[in-house]
């Protein structure tokens, strides 16, 4: 009873007020995402970057120039709106004729580029933002409400009202609604789809930018690294509200704000982001149409998630492959330890990319949470070997742990399709990272695992640069060889059949979930040993070692080489991981390089360098 009364005594009203205030900011983010999803069928991963742009424009106006808040809001809306429209024009419109997952990947590239530009212009450290808002608080019952809360809520409500007026009182607004219903029909009726798309990206940008400013005001600080987290919050809100449902997005934002605020009150602030992802997964699995949809709708035709174009893959002639392997083997003899080290690193990425190219390319489950598999392998081996297990055994167990745990975690996502797979795997990746952060008893929490024993096999140390190079090279070639063998067996065609048309494959007796599981098992093993070896190489890992950027990086490698293509994955890994290291200036602007590479690749060579297999 005492626990109940202490529960009752918690300041629930305060939690609810702050939940609604934060929720109204999430709602602003979500409305933009929902509008874009409605007209362009696209989850805009660059939405978070626009949010950050808005925050920094706000800082420039308020602190840098000293403009009043009202003017600042207008400038923020204008500039971030222009940024949104520019994204549509530069990155999305050219991809009109490509597979639906292409623009999604392009927006990831845009997000990386914008974030890096903000880092370059404003430095990567957070800075204070204040706007002389009076400091009074109003007593309501046993809670309080402050001027800042009212300012934020008012701005959000006014923005929503303006949007409503636009959608329902203007001709362009009607065109937007028509396009959302049926873009082909709208086009035939003379609606300029490009103008509609650009308008929607502009409006979404303006709302996202305002959200950035408001978050800055609420916490008195702005952080250039918040983009992805905020974008994800908006995404969770639209999943709650029902993807393209604009009023639903507002509801979803408020609900998410409340859940977070109450959750933090109960469990503590370090769990903040976990709530959002758990809500996301639960929604995707049980109410994929959102909580406001009526009844069980028939699932829409699959938004085909594959990025595999109908082209023939380049098959490298066998002699060439042997020559390349030969060069790789004798490379350390050149006595350039830096190059050797860089290439070792590239091969580790290559292992991870092999795993991803199997799952995302061959089977067609585009994963943005691949880092989770690598992290599981790394942690399993690191934790066991620091307690005395031999390193070689640790690596194998790391692989097995990633295979089993990864498959079990991903299993619920197997019934998802297309974009939902991308969102689901993203959530899984974040959840694994947050569990590692919060499960202090096992994982050592935020401190990470240090003093991880260096590489050795059966007592033979592989400490030297050359020895570890050869070991990692051998491992990568072994796993690549095994993967090629699998692809040549009945599994290869079965996996590809699932990718091409899951319904038809099921109709011909292919139990698709089982075969997706087999692919995840094998890929998980490869990714797990990649993580384990990396942990022993670095001797230190923490929850952030294998983050979202890592996942995006691996995906870029796999796409660069050609999704599903084994030699392509290795080539992609070498190009993406090694090139920036060889040219110092590139290394400094690494994210810019990765982002631009992703955008250009998807635009001009979606099948990758060697073609998708």
């Amino acid at each position: 009873m005492e626990s109940l009364s202490s529960l009752m005594a918690m300041p629930w009203l305060d939690y609810s007020i702050s939940g609604l205030v934060i929720g109204s900011i999430y709602a602003l983010m979500a409305v933009g995402l929902a509008l874009i999803f409605g007209v362009a069928n696209l989850i805009n991963f660059a939405h978070g970057a626009v949010f950050t742009v808005g925050a920094y424009i706000g800082w420039t106006c308020l602190v840098g120039i000293g403009l009043p808040l009202g003017v600042t809001i207008v400038v923020v809306a204008a500039v971030s709106g222009a940024a949104g429209a520019l994204i549509e024009w530069l990155a999305i419109r050219p991809l009109n004729r490509q597979s639906r997952i292409a623009p999604l990947l392009a927006t990831i590239g845009v997000a990386l580029v914008l974030d890096q530009i903000i880092h370059i212009v404003f430095s990567p450290t957070p800075r204070a933002l204040s706007a002389n808002i009076p400091d009074w608080r109003l007593q309501i019952g046993n809670g309080t409400i402050g001027a800042i809360d009212i300012t934020i809520a008012l701005t959000a409500i006014l923005s929503a009202a303006a949007l409503y007026a636009f959608l329902f009182r203007t001709k362009l607004g009607m065109a937007v609604r028509a396009t959302a219903q049926d873009d082909d029909a709208a086009k035939q009726m003379g609606v300029n789809i490009n103008a509609v798309n650009m308008t929607v990206f502009g409006i979404a940008g303006a709302l996202g930018g305002i959200a950035g400013l408001l978050v800055g005001l609420y916490y008195n600080s702005i952080d250039p690294n918040a983009s992805f987290q905020m974008m994800l919050k908006g995404m969770v809100a639209i999943v709650i509200g029902g993807m393209a449902n604009v009023p639903g997005a507002i509801g979803g934002g408020l609900i998410l704000g409340l859940i977070e605020s109450w959750g933090i009150g109960l469990f503590g602030a370090s769990y903040r982001n976990l709530f959002a992802f758990v809500v996301l997964l639960v929604m995707l699995l049980f109410r994929p149409n959102g909580i406001f949809s009526r009844g069980k709708e028939r699932p829409a035709e699959p938004m085909t998630g594959t990025f595999v174009t109908q082209t023939k893959a380049v098959t490298l002639p066998k002699p060439l492959i042997w020559v390349l392997i030969g060069i790789a083997v004798i490379l350390p003899m050149a006595n350039m330890p830096y190059i050797t080290q860089v290439m070792t690193n590239a091969y580790l990425y290559g292992l991870a990319a092999l795993a991803l190219t199997l799952v995302s390319g061959t089977v067609g489950l585009v994963s943005i949470g691949h880092a989770a598999l690598v992290a599981i392998g790394a942690y399993a081996s690191a934790l066991l070997t620091t307690k005395g297990l031999p390193v070689s055994l640790g690596i194998v167990i790391g692989g097995a742990a990633a295979a089993l745990l990864g498959t079990a975690l991903a299993y619920p996502a197997f019934r998802l399709r297309g974009h939902y797979v991308a969102i689901g795997t993203l959530a899984l990746g974040e959840i694994v990272s947050l569990v590692i952060l919060n499960w202090e008893g096992v994982t050592n929490g935020a401190l990470g695992v240090f003093a991880i024993p260096p590489l050795e096999i059966f007592g033979f140390p592989l400490y030297g640069t050359k020895a570890s190079y050869w070991f990692v090279l051998a491992l990568m070639l072994l796993m690549a060889g095994l993967q090629v063998r699998l692809l040549k067996s009945h599994l290869g065609r079965t996996w590809k059949a699932i990718r091409e048309d899951t319904v038809a494959a099921e109709t011909y007796g292919v139990a698709s979930n089982y075969y997706k599981g087999l692919a995840f098992g094998f890929a998980g093993f490869t990714a797990g040993i990649a993580g384990a070896v990396t942990a022993h190489q670095w001797s230190f890992i923490n929850y952030d070692s294998f983050n979202l950027l890592f996942s995006v990086l691996i995906l870029t490698m796999a796409i660069l080489g050609g999704l599903g293509n084994v030699s392509g994955a290795i080539l992609g890994a070498i190009l993406v991981a090694a090139l920036p290291e060889m040219f110092r200036t590139l290394a400094e602007y690494r994210m810019l390089f990765y982002g631009a590479a992703l955008i250009i690749l998807i635009r001009f060579r979606p099948q990758g360098l060697l073609g998708s297999g």
Binding site: R298, Q310, S489, L491, T494, A504, T507, Y508, G521
Partner: protein, 304 residues
């Protein structure tokens, strides 16, 4: 009806307020050829989706050789011998003709059928990696058989056996679908408009192939709009409209049923007013009323 291999009773499927299939009964005997006709939106494809497991029925029961197969998942249906083709054609575009047909063999592949719990998946991966002799021989035997099936389509598919199916013509893709269905060794073969979108000579060629399948004693369920073909091939015909069976019997009986004519033409006064004259009429007579030669009521709309 004790000789029926497939029996469906009271099949019902509702979408929101619409009852797409409303208490349909259907039975097919071993070696029988049953066709289902009806205007677009009559519920034919929905009915086939329910029988072959692509969709779940709200009411009714399906048995195959006495075994209850109601609402089994599609891959279970395939395992017990129900094979179907799709109205709009669903080949695996990036797979070769050979690999498409080999997917049809999947349910018979021993290498893919480790029945051992828990370590079954590991065994399947292991076999695929090691490729022991038995696995290699089985694969070669399946390829041999696939080549034989592909050869029944003459020079249409054989020269393109290693080409990806996205590079094939529409008619050839439909042929690949049928080859893939045959590779399953089906107890019952369900064909959903196998000649949709084909020109006359392609249709004639396809009809010859289907007639060959019938002659070899296969049990076949067919949806088709080209009545010429239906009349020539079928042992029995079932006509549907608005989710219900409106007529059922021999091809001649169904063709002359005023209700069928009304369903196709919207009102009975055109064909149905002179039923007596029908007896001597050629089957073509109904058909020439339709908008395109050899077809009735086909507007090319999707009805999936």
């Amino acid at each position: 009806m004790s000789d029926a291999i497939l029996t469906a009773t009271g099949i019902t499927r509702r979408f929101g307020g619409i009852t797409a299939v409303d208490g349909v009964d259907l039975h097919v005997a071993e070696g029988e050829f049953l066709s289902v006709i009806g205007p677009n939106g009559a519920g034919k494809t929905t009915l086939f989706n329910l029988i072959s497991g692509q969709d779940r029925m709200d009411g009714g029961k399906v048995t195959l050789e006495g075994r209850d197969i109601t609402n089994l998942s599609p891959h279970k249906m395939a395992e017990i011998g129900v094979a179907r083709t799709f109205q709009h054609g669903r080949v695996f575009g990036n797979l070769t003709v050979m690999d498409n047909v080999l997917i049809g063999c999947h349910v018979r592949l021993k290498a893919a059928r480790s029945r051992v719990p828990v370590i079954g998946p590991v065994l399947e991966l292991g076999k695929a990696l090691i490729q022991p002799r038995a696995v290699r021989e089985e694969e070669e035997a399946m390829r041999e058989e696939a080549r034989a099936i592909i050869a029944t389509f003459g020079e249409r598919l054989a020269p393109r056996i290693d080409n990806p199916t996205y590079s094939l013509s529409y008619a050839n893709r439909r042929r690949v679908e049928i080859a893939r269905a045959l590779a399953l060794h089906p107890r019952i073969l369900i064909l959903d408009e196998p000649t949709a979108g084909m020109n006359e000579s392609e249709t004639a060629e396809m009809q010859e192939i289907i007639a060959g399948l019938k002659a070899s004693g296969r049990t076949i369920l067919l949806i088709e709009h080209k009545l010429n073909m239906v009349m020539q091939l079928s042992d029995r015909v079932m006509a549907m409209d608005d989710g219900k069976v409106i007529s059922h019997g021999t091809p001649t009986e169904v063709r002359n049923d005023p209700k069928v004519i009304e369903a196709y033409l919207g009102h009975s006064s055109i064909g149905g007013a002179r039923p007596a004259a029908r007896d001597s009429a050629e089957p073509q007579e109904i058909i020439t009323v339709g908008p395109a030669q050899g077809r009735i009521g086909r507007t090319g709309g999707a009805e999936a």
